[in-house]
């Protein structure tokens, strides 16, 4: 195509230290050494060790632990965990949707207060919030006192140390994540689309159903995936507020380690849970792109 004079650039392409792009790549590699080593040694290695243990570890290869997990007890436990996570996710989506809609479309003091409340809630210790719910929901707690004082109930309702408490606590803790994921999606919806739908004669309900809701769907999906994943792995809240009535997989793992001291079994259970969460992460990556979590490409 053209006569080109080769120069030192081409001759020394691999060795050239001056080339900006390759120098930049080298600097990038230097920057990444520490974090990558850290993640490898302190994240991938422990999980790899877990994988090895789950297949028998030092005692030699065995599928024993996984066989134990097929017992009805663990199947039921898994089903309950999924059900709990699923219901919490649905509840969060339903509760969060109108709230996120308000934050995205109405700028007033109330919206700012909601954001403030959500942020404070996000920042407040999970342990603290869970503990607080005990105080609020217990037999002589705020809610029961209020209900009786208003004459709605005669005696105290049992709201905590059962599944009701677990649901309330988990929804409370996971709701901010749902709102925070929905908000940017709704914020990005072009308002003129809804306006033009209305001007074309659509009723508000039709405009919502046909235009707004489909456009907000991606946020709803990624928020649900996020909340569902977190709900599956939740420990503190169901353990404390459930009072033994809401046993999940992660509580079983703790039991296997600390009470049964069956390490291969605990390792196998952990690996299953790990696979489930990695699967969800990959699905999330396919649907929404992990870079969204990193604030890129918004």
């Amino acid at each position: 195509m053209s006569t080109t004079i080769p120069n030192r650039n081409t001759l020394l392409a691999g060795f050239s230290s001056a080339d900006w792009e390759s120098q930049r790549r080298r600097v990038t590699a230097v920057l990444l050494i520490l974090p990558v080593v850290m993640m490898t040694l302190l994240f991938l290695v422990p999980l790899g060790y877990l994988l090895w243990l789950s297949f028998g570890g030092p005692a030699g290869f065995s599928l024993n632990a996984y066989k134990q997990l097929s017992a009805p007890f663990y199947i039921n436990l898994a089903l309950f965990t999924l059900q709990l996570a699923f219901l919490v996710t649905i509840a969060c989506a339903v509760i969060a949707y109108p709230l996120a809609y308000m934050l995205a479309n109405i700028e007033n003091t109330l919206s700012r207060l909601v954001v403030l409340g959500l942020v404070i809630s996000l920042w407040l210790s999970v342990l603290a919030r869970t503990y607080s719910w005990i105080i609020i929901l217990q037999r002589n707690g705020v809610v029961n006192n209020m209900l009786q004082w208003m004459g709605i109930t005669d005696g105290p309702l049992s709201l905590v140390y059962n599944q009701t408490g677990v649901y309330i606590g988990m929804i409370h803790i996971l709701l901010p994540y749902m709102v925070m994921t929905l908000y940017p999606t709704m914020r990005a919806i072009d308002g003129s689309l809804v306006r033009s739908a209305l001007s074309l004669g659509a009723t508000p309900w039709t405009a919502f159903r046909r235009i707004y809701f489909p456009l907000s769907m991606s946020g709803l999906v990624s928020g649900s995936i996020l909340v569902f994943t977190m709900a599956i792995g939740f420990f503190v809240t169901p353990a404390i507020l459930g009072g033994g009535s809401a046993n999940t997989i992660v509580m079983a793992i703790q039991n296997q380690v600390q009470v049964l001291v069956d390490l291969p079994l605990a390792a196998a259970t952990s690996i299953i849970l790990l696979l489930v969460s990695m699967l969800i992460l990959v699905v999330y990556e396919k649907i929404a792109g992990v870079e969204k979590i990193f604030g890129e490409g918004r």
Partner: protein, 366 residues
Amino acid sequence: MTTATTSIAGTAPINTRGVGVRFEQLSKRYGDFYAVDSLDLNVAPGEFLSILGPSGSGKTTVLMLIAGFVAPTSGRLLLGDQDISQIPPYKRNIGVVFQNYALFPHLDVRRNVGFPLEVRGVPKDEIAKRVNWALERVHMEKFADRRISQLSGGQQQRIALARAIVFEPRALLMDEPLAALDRNLRQDMQYEIRSLQRSLGQTVIYVTHDQEEALNLSDRVAVMNLGRLQQVDTPKNLYLRPANPFVAGFFGEANLLSGKTQGGVFTTDAGIRLPVTETREGPAVLCVRPEMIVFGDERKSDFPSLTGTVLETRYRGSILHIELDTPLGKINAVQHINTTNDAPAEGTTLEFGWDPNLGHVMMGQV
């Protein structure tokens, strides 16, 4: 050109004069695609040269090659007599003004302008003096303590200029520096940039897609298309003596007739013979600018005599645009409007021609 060196009280004189930039067979290839193909170009010291081209012409790659963010696949790039194709950007000493100014938002004006001196380890008191000098050159000395966010677009542009000249760069490189400004401000800044460049004696390579800007500012303009240099010449010659149909069409309107030329006669593909001043022989394209076309009695005896039917007439401000259907094909003509002429009615037959001295033959271009 006035002052090439300026002295500031108590500091070494600042050498503001630029050096030449030479491209020798410079190419950048991505796979099979040549973003820049065998570029040969010589920019004289103190020259203002624009690199002009549509998007995808390779002008941005040339910019990145000069700044050092892209390494050439082959060829050499010389700054003065030094080959800089191996030198990383931060050792090139070329002042770059970026399209969006790229001022550091976390530093105030003074620290932005002082940045290149700070990283070079210049002592503090001298930095202060040089920063003041640079800010004076762009008439921004009163804004030294402002934050960047407090400045308008035009002011940011000036600060970016000051930052690019403060460290005695050997040449200045500008990437569409005025693209973000509105029209009036852009014209003021064009004048400012030109007078700053002249007073410093600095070499400027100015990359733009805006023909008017390039023609206004430059000593010479390098026109690029599809990775290749099409022509380097003065603004006047680019218009009157374009090297090829692309350049002819890029600067204003042109009637392009293909054919061949021999012995002062250009024969179009359709066999029409037209007088030209070109003495060479061979296939060629004849370029006739619309404003060269004259009608009726204005023609002189040596002009070609042709007739055409008016297809359409349009007023564009002070100019009347006439589209003719002629044996040569469609011909565009423009006339300056005065009180005596009226637009000819559509369908009117007009006699027209042009001065053979003005018609420009582009050899070998078919």
